[in-house]
Amino acid sequence: MSGPDDELTLIEKRLFKLAPAKFRKIVAVLEDRRAEFGARGPVETLMSKMRPRLVRMRLARKLTLQRVFCRAFEELLTDAADPQGMGTRISRQSIDPCWRLFVDKADVRRLQKFAANLRACGEEDTRRIERLGRQLWAYGAEVLEAALRPARRGDVVPGLGDLSERAYRDLLFIGDYLQVADVMQELKRRLGPRPLKRATDEHIDAIVTALEAVNEVDRQHQHVIIDLLLVWLKQPSDIVAIVDRIAAAARAEIDEASLTLASESLVEDIETKLRSAAEFAAQHAHDRAGTVRQLRGCVSDLLGAHGAFQNRSSVTAMRRLEHIRGKVAGLVEGHILKDADQRILGVLPAAQAAADQVLSNVMPVVMLTEPLDAARVEAAEDQAIALRLCVKYAEELGLKAEFFDTIEALGRTIEDRARWAARRIQIAALDEAARAAVAGHFYIAVRMLELVCGSDRADNLRRQLLVAA
């Protein structure tokens, strides 16, 4: 039986196969009916499914004042109800309540005039729409500032109390943003298409120009530039290095608060990643490779931030970074390094100590002719992969010696055990099943050696074992 979700998926699939003209017609019908169903109705759900194609065909969409209003900050919009992570993002769910508040507080005749001007614009009339947008944003900034001023003083403002906490925060941000919307449009143009992989001197120049313009309006709004950069950068952690370059080029234009905001955003983000990796490790004790993959983003940001912070006199930020580094190293030591040898060597038969030599040389060889224990093989594989993935961060985490010793000891032991077994096994005397089992054990030894010490060394062992077998 199909539910509404299945039906939506079906509709979504079919919509993407429609010819552009038909798709446009459906969009037009849906938009006309949108108001009947409200902001969270089925039309809205369907529109959100269609958004990727709507973005592609942006000019074909019916232009409304609300849509022009949002164009200023559209890159900062997100579907998340309560966006988290680095920088400020605006939840799409906040658009309707914020727009309603603006409409309530605005002069009806001016809005009607804006609407009439917009109706007169053709779909391709981009320059005229852009000009109208700039006027609307300036007016929006004025109206929202007037509405928010008493609220900032602590006075009760009708309409604001109805907003959710998230919508209120987004409204404050939109108010700030619209005051510098013109500047931000120019900055976006000069930054070029998203994502920005590497900030060149021209980009830095554009950001400095934007900062100068924002400072003329209100220095408190510098955060808007940081937030925009965070959605523009391919690697948001580059933000610290960028603000450093700005500080070096035009120290007077960037306040300490903005420098701190960039570092704080980054450090908070790294802390969040670390928390989530630690939670993953606690919940998936047997997925060590998974834990390393979780830690990877955290470690690379940590290293990037460490480099960027070295020029910075922020003792607090450095202390927090050192603290995070210590915690990551602790997690790696306790979860990846500790008992790694037991888990990896557990799949390889071992000669016992000299004291019980008589028994020991028989048992491991007997074990060799038994089929592999699949669960132990999986555990060894996971452990060896975790070790291999983690080794490249060993030095930065202060664990170089520990990793080096573990890997060297493991490599030697795997080779010794495999060669020892190869010397003792009498292949010719075994039946087919036992021979297959022996081969399986040998191949596991080769695989473990490859994961831990690399392909060349492992292939040497394979050749020696092939001769023996």
Partner: protein
């Protein structure tokens, strides 16, 4: 054009440069295109092996060092040029012992090496499962062909069911039935059965129409059709140049799928008229074998592409775009002489579009440095490539 290697490539390697000439990057035959070798060393991933009369076995590595050229490396020199995974070294040796560099031969070699666990336990499990599935394809196709032969040749009066094979009485009855239908061709029951077994062995990868089980190549055809639809739909949603690349991939997949379906229909026609096929067994069997070989070559190289697309998280736009860039590098193009004159223009245009659109692939794949995560990803591909959805 064969020129000396350049740009840090060891002198023992040669490069086929096709940057200028359209004809140079459109192979004439399947043998010239080569068969995909499922290596796990990233730089060698999806390279092709071919047998060249003058030089023997050669490996064709596309896009090495990020360029659009294809590098041709003598098979024996491969280990001295690249740091290969142990799995790949073992696979290279295994292939070398085999008589022909065909898709089926390479697949058998790969399953054998994978089963050892050298590409990890998941890959070993998947390889063993694939070997079992191949046995099932063969057994079920064989049984269905026998029962279909009995049905057709007796005019629907006689029937053999799986239950008959589980009891002595049933087996005796089956033998009796087979001897009656074998007599129609002046054959002993054993010879008649051997003929059907031979036939089933040839067509097992694609199965017989009516068989309530999807055999390997028929599954791959279905996957290929689904891939074409899915990547086409994705291209509608994307706003970047990757959308154009995706459309080229979709077109190539659609065209290949059409060719494969025609070939499969040709193979199926022989089982639709078993009397006619068995009456002219020698020419029929060689024609069936030729069609099966062509089908295997046509679909060769599509497994990794389909798996790669299935594996990608389409919610991650950038990762999806990267995957499409990789796919362009791997796209198997139908060779010039293997398509009819009407399709030749279409394929010529597609080859040209493919070459023009091919972009610098992800550096990680081509840097020559062994990126361990990529090795693991390729091992995962190998395992996933054996999967049959809905098994």
């Amino acid at each position: 054009m064969t020129v000396a290697a350049r740009g840090g490539i060891p002198a023992s390697m040669t490069v086929t440069s096709s940057a200028q000439k359209h004809d140079d990057f459109w192979p004439n035959t399947f043998e010239e295109r080569g068969a995909v070798v499922p290596f796990t060393t990233p730089v060698l991933a999806f390279s092709r092996l071919r047998h060249e009369e003058e030089h023997g076995l050669e490996l064709l590595v596309p896009g090495l060092a990020g360029g659009r050229d294809t590098y041709v490396i003598p098979w024996r020199s491969v280990p001295s040029v690249f740091v290969m995974t142990v799995h790949d070294r073992a696979l290279r040796e295994e292939i070398e012992y085999r008589p022909a560099a065909t898709p089926d031969g390479i697949r058998d070699a790969s399953i054998k090496v994978e089963s050892t666990g050298l590409a990890g336990p998941a890959s070993a499990r998947a390889a063993k499962q694939a070997a079992n599935d191949d046995d099932n394809d063969r057994l079920l196709t064989n049984f269905f062909l026998v029962s279909e032969a009995v049905r057709q040749l007796s005019g629907g009066k006689l029937k053999v069911s799986p239950a008959d094979l589980t009891t002595d009485a049933g087996r005796t009855r089956t033998k009796l039935i087979l001897s009656r239908v074998a007599a129609l061709f002046q054959l002993t029951p054993d010879d008649f059965y051997a003929r059907l077994e031979d036939w089933a062995g040839m067509v097992a990868p694609v199965g017989i129409p009516g068989l309530n089980y999807t055999c390997r190549l028929r599954q791959l055809m279905a996957d290929l059709a689904a891939y074409a639809d899915s990547i086409e739909a994705w291209s509608e949603r994307d706003v970047t140049d990757a959308a154009d690349s995706a459309r080229i991939c979709a077109r190539i997949a659609e065209e290949t799928c059409g060719t494969a379906r025609n070939l499969a229909a040709g193979i199926d026609r022989y089982s639709a008229n078993i009397r006619e096929t068995l009456s002219h067994w020698a020419p029929s069997s060689s024609r069936i074998r030729a069609l099966m070989d062509k089908l295997a070559w046509t679909l060769d190289g599509w497994g990794p592409v389909v798996t790669m697309w299935r594996d990608v998280d389409q919610g991650d736009r950038e990762a999806t775009q990267d995957s499409i860039a990789e796919m362009l590098r791997l796209m198997p193009v139908m060779p010039r002489r293997e398509v009819g004159s009407r399709a030749r223009k279409t394929w010529g245009d597609l080859s040209h579009a493919l070459y023009r659109t091919r972009v610098r692939a992800s550096e990680d794949w081509l840097s020559g440095k062994v990126d361990f995560e990529l090795v693991l990803r390729l091992e995962k591909f190998k395992a996933a490539g054996h999967e049959r959805p809905g098994r």
